[in-house]
Each structure stands twice: as C-alpha cells, then as structure tokens.
Subunit: 462 residues, 3 copies
C-alpha cells in the first residue's frame, strides 16, 4: 500500500538517533542545573540570604509550566484530531515534535539567553521557554497537517527551532521589545513560517485526498478537548514568564477576559455567517482561542480589563471571518493549503497582538505603572526610552518576526522537498494508515458482531 | 429541516452583541485592577511592607483557580456529552454560557461584594467567584439540556447570574453564613432554579425526542472525562476561596475523603439497584460526585476526615437512589424533565450539605478551633454569635437559597417561553443538527469507505 | 447472558459496605488532621513562629498533588480504555480501586509512617502518598485488565495496599533507601505483583476472548488522553514528595528531559521493529512513558540533565523491545497474560531505575551536593554511611521490592481464585457487558437512523 519513499523503517530511526544523539552530547557538554535547581547552589543561597525555600522560582512558575505543558501536548495535540482519519498522526506527531523540540530549543535558547561561563543553566523558566518554542513548531505543523512525513516534520523542527531562537533573540534582546505571551515570537512567526512552508510544498493534486480532510462527529469532540484545554490555560501561557507578583497576576486576568469576550464574538459571528444560522464547529474550535493570541504581547501591560475584552472580541470576529472568507482564497489564489487554518487562529491575531502591544506601550506613563514600570518596561523606567520609542521597537519586532518567518519558511520549505524525506503521495494525505498500524474500525462490523455473535468480528479482524 | 423560529442567524448575533457590548461598557466604567493586580499599587505595597512577591494572592489561589476553571469548562462541558446526538451543543453551549456568565457575574458580584469608591476591583479571587457563579448556571443548564436554544440559555444566564449575585449577597453578607464550596449558593440554588425552569418549560410531547435522550458507548466515555475532572478537582473547588493556610489545606483534604467514600457508596448502590447486578454508567458519572457537593458548606470547618467520609457515603447512596427512584417520579408526576438528573447530583446533596454545615457549625468550640475560629466563624470568634445561633443562620440560608431558586426559576421560566427565543420543537430535542453544521458519521458508510474505496465516502459527504 | 457467579448485585455491595464501613471506623479512631491542616495547631504555629501562611505545606505540594491525582484517575484510567469493549470497566474500575485504595492506604501508610501518640496525622503529603500507593494497585490492575471482577479487584486492592505499606516501610524506613518517584516501591512492586497474580490466574482458554483484546480507532485516541496526561505530569509525580526547594525543582527537571528523550527513542524503535516501517500505537501509548519510571529513584539526585536523557532513551528502547519480543514469550512460555504490558512499562524500567539509583548514589560527593546532601542523602551527610554503602542499600531495596511482589502476588493470586469472587468466564473477558448496562452502539444502525428516520433506531434501542 505504501511506496518505498514513505516507509519509515530506516529513515525515522536514523534521523531520531542522529538528532537525539547530538542533543545528548551537547547537553553533556553545555547544560547544567541553574542555581535554583542545583543542590549545592540553592542551599548556599538559602543559607547566605536567610531565604525560604518558597522563594525558589519553582513555586512561582511550576503550576504555570504545567498548564503550558498541557496546552502543548493535550491542547495542540487534540485540537488537530478533528480530521477523521488522522487522529493518530495528529496527537502522536505533535508528541514527537514537541518532545524533540523542547530538547533542541533548550540548547538554542540557552546559547542565546542563558549562556554563562560557557554553560547553559536551566530550570523551570527555561523549561517554559522550551515549551513555548515548541508551540511555534506545532503552529507550523498545523499548516502542513496531513501532508508531511514525520521525518520531514523533524527536519522542519530542527531548523525552525533554530530560527525561532535567533528571531526571539533579535526581538527580546536586541530590540528589547516585550512579548510575554509570544504573540510575535511564537504565534506570528510560527503561523507565517508554516504558511510559507505550505506554499512551497503546494500540492496541485491535493483534491485526491480532500474527501479525507473533514471531520466526523466524534473527531470534532476529541478536537474540543484540545480547544478547551488551550482556552482554559491560555492565561497561564501568557503569564508564565512575566515578572513575579502583579505582572503574572495581571497578565492572567487580562487573558481570561479577552478569551471570554472572544468566545461570545466567535459564536455570534459564526451564526451570522451561515445561511441557515447554524454554528460551525471549526470556528468554535479555533476562533474562540484568538483572544489568547490577541493579547499575548499586551496582557502584561496595563491593558485594563475592558481593553482586553475589546481586543478579544475583535480577534474572535476577525478570526471567524478569516475561516469563512480568507482561507478559501489563500487556498485557491495563493496556493497556500492551510489545513488547520493557522492563519486565522495564529497569523492575523498575532499581527493584531503586535499592533495592540505597540499601542499600549505608547500609552505607558509613570502615573499608571508607578514602580511597576521597571518590570514591564525597564527601558522606559530607567529613562533610556520614551513610551513612543518603545512602541516603535514593538512595531519593528513584528516586521522582524514576519521577515524571519517568510525567509525561514522558504528556506526550510525547499529543504523539505527532498524526496528522501518520505512525503506522502497526493492520494494518501490526511491518512493515518500510511504511517501507522491502524486497528479495525469502531462501527460497522465490529459492533454488530457484539450483538450477532463472534463470527463476523473474527472475520473482520486482521 | 429547521423552521424559522430556531434559525439562529439573526437572533444569536444580536443577543450576543447586545450582551457583550453592555458588558464591555460597564467594565470600562466600573471595573479596575485590584491592589494585587495593579502595577503601581502592588509595587507600592511591596515596598512599604517589605513584602515578598510570593505573598501576592496569585500564588495562594491561581492553581486552585485553574482547577475550578477546568471543572467549569471541561468538567461540566464533557459530563453533558453523554447524549448520543448532543455532544456539540453540550460542550459548546457550556462554553458559551460560562464565557458570558463569568463576565456578567464579575459585574454583578462586583456590585455586591467588591465595590469600593465607585469601582469594582478584580483579581484572582474575583475570577474564582465568577467561575463559581457560572457553575450554578451550568447546573441549571443540565436540567434543561437538549430542550432550549442558545438564545434562551443566554437569557437564562443573564437573569440567573443576577439572581445568583443577590442570593449570594443575602447568604454571605446579610446572614453571614459560611458556604465555602457554595453548596447552598451554587448547587442548591442552581439545581432548584433549573428544575423550576424545566417545570415551567414542561413539554408534554417530549416523547417524540426521547429516543435521542440516551447515550452511546463512546459518548459515555466522553462523559467520563467530565466526571473524572470534576471529581479530581473538587477539593480545589471547595477550598479555592477559603482563608489562606490551614483553611485551604483542610477543606481540600475533607473533600478528598468525602469523594472517595462517595465513590464506593455509589458503586455498591448502583449494583444493588439493578436486577442483574450490573452497574449503571449514569450513576457512576453523577452520583460519585455528590460527595463533593455534600461537604461544600462544611469542608472548611473542623468536620474531621471520618465525618467527611460519612457525609460522602450518604450522598452517594442518596444520589444513586434519586436517579433510580425519584427522577422517574419527578418526570411523570411533577412534570419536571431533568435531563442530567441535577436534582440527584446537586439538589438533594446541596440540601444535605446545608444541613451538615449547620450541624457542624453548632458543634464549633474554642477548644477545637483555637485562633483559627476567626477564619472559619468570625462572628463566633468575636463573640457576636454563639455556635448555635450560627447554625440557625446556616439553616436559614438554605431556605433563602431555595426561595430564590423557586421564585427566580418561575420568573425566568416564563421569560424563556417567549417564542422569539427559538426553542427547539418537541421532535428536535437532544439533537445537534438543529443548531450545528454536523459532519458525516463515524461509523457505517464512512468507515467502510476507507476499506472499500473512496466512492461511497464521497457520496455520503455533504 | 451472565451466569450466577458474575452477578454483582449482592457481592459488590456487601464487599463495599464492609470495606468502607471498617475504613470509616478506623478513621474515626485513628485519623486526625496534622498540624498544618488543623485550625488550632496551624494558627498556634503561625503566631509562635511569626510564620506566613504561604509556608504551609499546602502551597509547596498541592499543585503537585493535583497533577498526581490527574495521573491516577485520568492517566491510568484512560490509558486502559484502549480495549474496544472494555472502556467502561477500564476507567470506572480504575476509579473504584483508586478511591478505595487511597482511603485504605491512608491507614496502612499512617500506621507505618505517621503514627504519633496513637494517632495518624494527615495532610497534603499523606494525600500524595495515598495516591502513590494506588498507582501501584493500578499497575497491577493493568496486568489482569479484562480478566477479573470488581470484587476480585477490591480484594486485591485490600491486600496489595497492605503489602505495599510494609514493603515501603522496609525500603524507606528500615533500609533508608531513597525512592522519590517510587520506581521500586510503586512501579517494580506493582508490576511484578500484578504479573505474578496474572500467572496464578492463568487462563489456558483465554483464546475465546482474544478477539476482544484489541483496540479500535477511537479507543486508541481515548487511550492517548491517558498517555499524554501521564507523560506531562510525571515530573510532578517524581517530585511531589521530595524536599522543598531545589529538590522538587531538580526532580521535575530531570524527569522532563528523561521523558522527552524516551519519546524520541520510542518512536524510532517502534518504526524500526515493524516490517513496513509503520508505527505501533501500543508502543507510543506505553513505552514513551518508561522514561518517567526509569528516573523515579534517581531524579532527586544530581543525575544531570544529560544523565536523565540517557536513562530515558534507554528505557524507551528497552520498553519497546519488550512489547515486541518479550510480551509474546511471557504469554506463551511463562503463562503470564499481561493485558497492558505492565512488564514493559513498569517492570523492566522499574528495575532499571533502581539500578540507576544505586549507581548515582554511589557517585555522591560533598563537592557535588554541598549542604543539599542532607536533603538527598541524610545518612551520607551525617557521616553514618558512605556513598557506596548507600548504593548497596539502594540495590538491596530492589530485591526487597521484588521479593514482596513475588510472594505477595502468589498469596493474593490464590485468594483471588475463590469462585465466589465472580471471575468472568473465559468467553467473557475484555467485555463490559458482563458488569455494565451497555447502551446501543455508536455506529451502524444508530447512526443510519439519524439519517434514515427514527424507525430503525427505536428498534435497536433496548
């Protein structure tokens, strides 16, 4: 059933062994516990500063980390199980890419952010950042879902994580922009990178698999598990690496209200767009999340609760409109086959988030932020930037993210075209059977057999 | 297939736009960050009191908030997916109502509880309280599940949240009763409100849809996701807004043991009630949770672990008996069509919880509580009430909750009867197709098509 | 359809009532709040030590507890729903056994660990330990899944919890070995206990039910919910009861990287072992978790991140090989019918974890651990043991765990053979219908009915 090229027996083990082997060697050379994870260093710190164990960063951030972790592995993983015959690949390739991505990004981000005395020091904050980076990969994965082999996806992860790290370094460390929830570094970058890769990998004959691109009743319910976990834990996502205290608190609160308003806007727009006034599960599963993206840059700032709600409501409307009107155009005119509609959930809302971030930054005053300015805008606090110049750097960062996404996506897209990477044929897209040993079906024979006796069931089993 | 009245194309967007628009305007006028969420205020506090960021209420309560959030959106949402053809509506209307309800209740609860200097101040505690209020709405939703349009449900939410806020104000602030886990304010109120609404909306011809009221094998497994998340996180629910320290700790512990004992009691009662000794999934999905409700008022008190277990075991037995014997009577004699059996899970256990709360309050002594009395029973601690008078106020609060539920339910029930709200016809209850674009089915044709070729599948797709 | 012996109408209520009744009485006599849960004691402590409420152990451990709780009830429960016709039993018997096990283990562990002044004092740490113990039971449950009645399983739980408590006491208190994540006390003990029980209960005619032992498409997706939650929260599992501060932090971090490496190793080994280069869901669902077990003893130690990754990668390979080559041999030659392959996920990785723990302990030096030595290896810190002698005690503990598992398993296996316990017949294994009222099916008739009209559906309903 599967041709030579998609057989994973040699390719996948070889690529995994190489990637994991190199990663472990680099970890052995470069990666060390940070001073809150190391037995000697932390005890030294506690004794010298009369500190309490509760001040260990673990207690500030580990609950947020676990929420982010759940978004990455359950949220993204199950959101993509909406496809009727691609549930195994959706949740399991998501698992594979994220598990590799978080290791690789520990190294890449470590080289750029946490490199001291020739070593990368890691702890709960670097774990969150590593998970964040994989979020970007999984967004790109959504754009090519069903059309790439696991080997292609691992290669994409390898390069995209690396580009992510450089892009993030430019935005956060060179331009010193703020982007707590990563709407520029994660969502905008991940979405446009994936869209460009999808464009480069354009399949003119994808119609041969289109009948498998839809959902079935139960697959939409599995996808809702992903949606709801993403929606619930997005406040943790945006707040996970903000400063301790009011910053984490405020970021979570803003995101909570943005998402709530976004959900109402999504339901109403979805009903409005349908001729029969019926709701569309695709909108609910995706556009209702756009409110989390839309405040990803600004939720840390003094956005105000009603500001969050306006941002969220707009994002829900724009995202739903995108699914209805823009995605078909991207597909037919621009030859961008965006399986999960990441342009609507992550792309446009990410751009919107960057602009809102620039706007809110431009309004920062000492009166509003008080001593908290040093956490949110340290360069404004120390006088080296005005609020307006910070806003300019924020806007500039959006361009950087888009630039890295487009050029990176072109580069990586062409790499992924190498035939040896085992891309599935046009007739076998959105199909688990090409990569998985798939069991018999739920319905039909198997179930009747339970009623009618065992004979038929034995017959239908492999 | 759908008549004019249930078409949501105009109604749903209009009602959503009005509700969200008013909400945002009221937020802009009234809602502000509290002093732990505001950048200036928190930094001011930290500096003046040499405080640590770890003392921000976020770190005391945010993990509990996320557990409560999961119960509201995953727990309630998936618990109701047991219906074979109503999974989309169950999980997604749950999502819609909760997303609106938490915004509206921020305002209503804010006016009654957190109104200072003409502003409502919000933070993680108000977020928990907002989620709590939506729990009450979702309980009522369970009583009318499958028989109301989303517009009806949003109108119900609008009024019920408002009544919830008043009822809660009377119980907690006027009568100064204790109800940490909201067994009176959330469960009793939500259940009887929903039952009365269901009575007012009685459908004599519901038989035309009864064949769709049951579950199928997989829908029962989806429902178990809801059950287990509710069960696991109930200790967080009951403890989420109790006082810091021993109160949160003890409340979580008591709830943990109550639920464990309840589960054993539910399994045994379920087996006992069946002629063939077979277990019933409805009981496991619902009655095993009654232990969380049953200690919702008293878990904060010095209930003792074995006291919790007795309460939980009794609740499991009573709830299972209710499903077996009482629900059919409510339906046939009292004309109360309670789709999810909320009377058994939230109604009776809620009443029981209130009585246990009064009993345990009456036993409070300075010897048992020590200095902790001021957290649990401040009026006993400061001498303005005896334990016995506190118990009387606790019992009185139950009557208040029942009163608000019954009169509020009658009022709102009649409002919901307005034909323009798009109630589904008797033949289309428990049916997603009336409100959703529903994809092809999992089993049958679709699956055989994978085996037999693509022809049939193309045929069966829309 | 079911014979007398498997009818649960009398047996299950009787055994539940006896067990729960005895448990509640013993709780009433022996169990009390500990000093962080008790109102008087905690307030006394806060006042006398000018302590802060944030120092209550609740805030150190409750988020970890909830993650462990999720692993026990969602993780184990859904992991076992892979069987096509045993989903109800998998998730619900898991629920029953864990709910009883955590109560019983509170008593057993309390007698051995927390017994002061004739009372057992409980709080969040004992709750975690109680959940841990149930993990062991659920591992054993996995070995006999589908082949035992709930009454048999409750009897197994009663005895296994008791043996667990004694075994744990010997390992942790007598031998003073370290085993933070319970790889010896939970995984090794639980796995080999279950395997021995399965051997004693060997069914030569299990072929009559083998056709029901497989998965279907959707049941594999339900199982992935279990897998992913176990995988995500394993860092919390291993770190939940380690010392505050760097210990919890480091343990979580080590487990995170071990699991990530394990996942890559599992995918590559799975593809390599298949003739067609296709991945096998059984491997992904199970072997990808072996990395959490493999570092369960050593993750608390200064294992280093790359050490964790090597351990995880090896575990993934060994576990996948076990599923492919060893499980068939256990079944055909050793007459061990291991439904879930617990030998591969918990048995071998548990043994490996013990050996890694001994190795890493032997390498402990004052230079590496500094003042943190007293948390990780108190006997090395106070000079009463060398690192090498600690390693010997670690290795000895593995033998103790294996000894308790084998002899305990034999004893309990023979107890479970009593006919009155209602073991299902060979033709009815892996079948929910024997213990559950099972609704109609998803596919086939029911679904066509929605399309074709109501007549057929009514006909197929009970």
């Amino acid at each position: 059933m599967t041709g030579y090229s998609t057989n994973m027996r040699v390719k996948l083990p070889v690529i995994c062994a190489i990637l994991e082997g190199i990663t472990i060697i680099l970890f052995a050379i470069f990666v060390r516990y940070d001073h809150e994870t190391d037995a000697r260093d932390w005890h030294h710190h506690v004794k010298n500063h009369s500190a309490s164990d509760i001040e260990n960063d673990f207690y500030y951030r580990y609950p947020s980390f676990q929420d982010v972790h759940t978004m990455i592995f359950i949220g993204f993983g199950f959101l993509m199980t909406f496809l009727k015959r691609y549930g195994f690949s959706s949740v399991a390739f998501n698992f594979l890419l994220a598990a590799f991505g978080l290791q690789w990004s520990t190294l890449i981000q470590g080289f750029f952010h946490g490199f001291h005395d020739g070593k990368i020091h890691i702890g709960v904050e670097s774990m969150i950042n590593a998970d964040f980076c994989t979020g970007s990969i999984l967004i790109s994965f959504g754009a090519v879902l069903g059309k790439a082999s696991p080997v292609q996806l691992l290669i994409m992860t390898l390069f995209e994580v690396t580009l992510f790290g450089i892009n993030e370094f430019v935005i956060l460390n060179v331009l010193e922009a703020k982007d707590a929830g990563g709407s520029m570094t994660i969502h905008t970058f991940g979405a446009y990178f994936g869209l460009v890769v999808s464009r480069v990998l354009y399949r003119p004959n994808l119609d041969k698999s289109r009948h498998k691109e839809g959902s079935v009743y139960h697959s939409d319910l599995f996808a809702m598990i992903g949606t709801i976990f993403l929606w619930m834990f997005w406040p943790s996502f945006n707040s996970a690496i903000t400063a301790h205290g009011d910053d984490q608190h405020r970021t979570a609160l803003n995101t909570y209200y943005s998402l709530a308003a976004c959900t109402i806007a999504t339901f109403s727009t979805s009903a409005l767009l349908s001729g029969e006034g019926k709701l569309d599960m695709v909108h609910i599963q995706n556009a209702a999340l756009a409110g989390g993206v839309a405040v990803g840059t600004s939720a840390e700032m003094m956005l105000t609760p009603f500001g969050s709600m306006i941002a969220g409501a707009l994002a829900g409307i724009i995202s739903t409109l995108g699914f209805k009107f823009l995605s078909p155009i991207l597909d037919s005119k621009l030859k961008i086959q965006d399986t999960c509609g990441v342009h609507n959930l992550h792309g446009m809302p990410g751009v919107m988030a960057a602009l809102i971030g620039a706007l809110v930054a431009s309004l920062a005053t000492a009166d509003i932020y008080g001593a908290g300015m040093s956490d949110v805008f340290p360069l404004i606090a120390d006088g080296s930037r005005t609020a307006q110049s910070q806003a300019v750097y924020q806007a500039l960062s959006l361009l950087v993210a888009l630039g890295f996404a487009v050029f990176g996506g072109i580069l990586v897209g062409f790499i992924l075209k190498m035939p040896i990477l085992g891309s599935p044929p046009d007739t076998q897209c959105f199909e688990d059977e090409i990569f998985w040993e798939v069991p018999e079906e739920d319905g039909g024979h198997g179930q009747m057999a339970v009623v009618n006796g065992d004979d038929m069931e034995k017959h239908t089993m492999a």
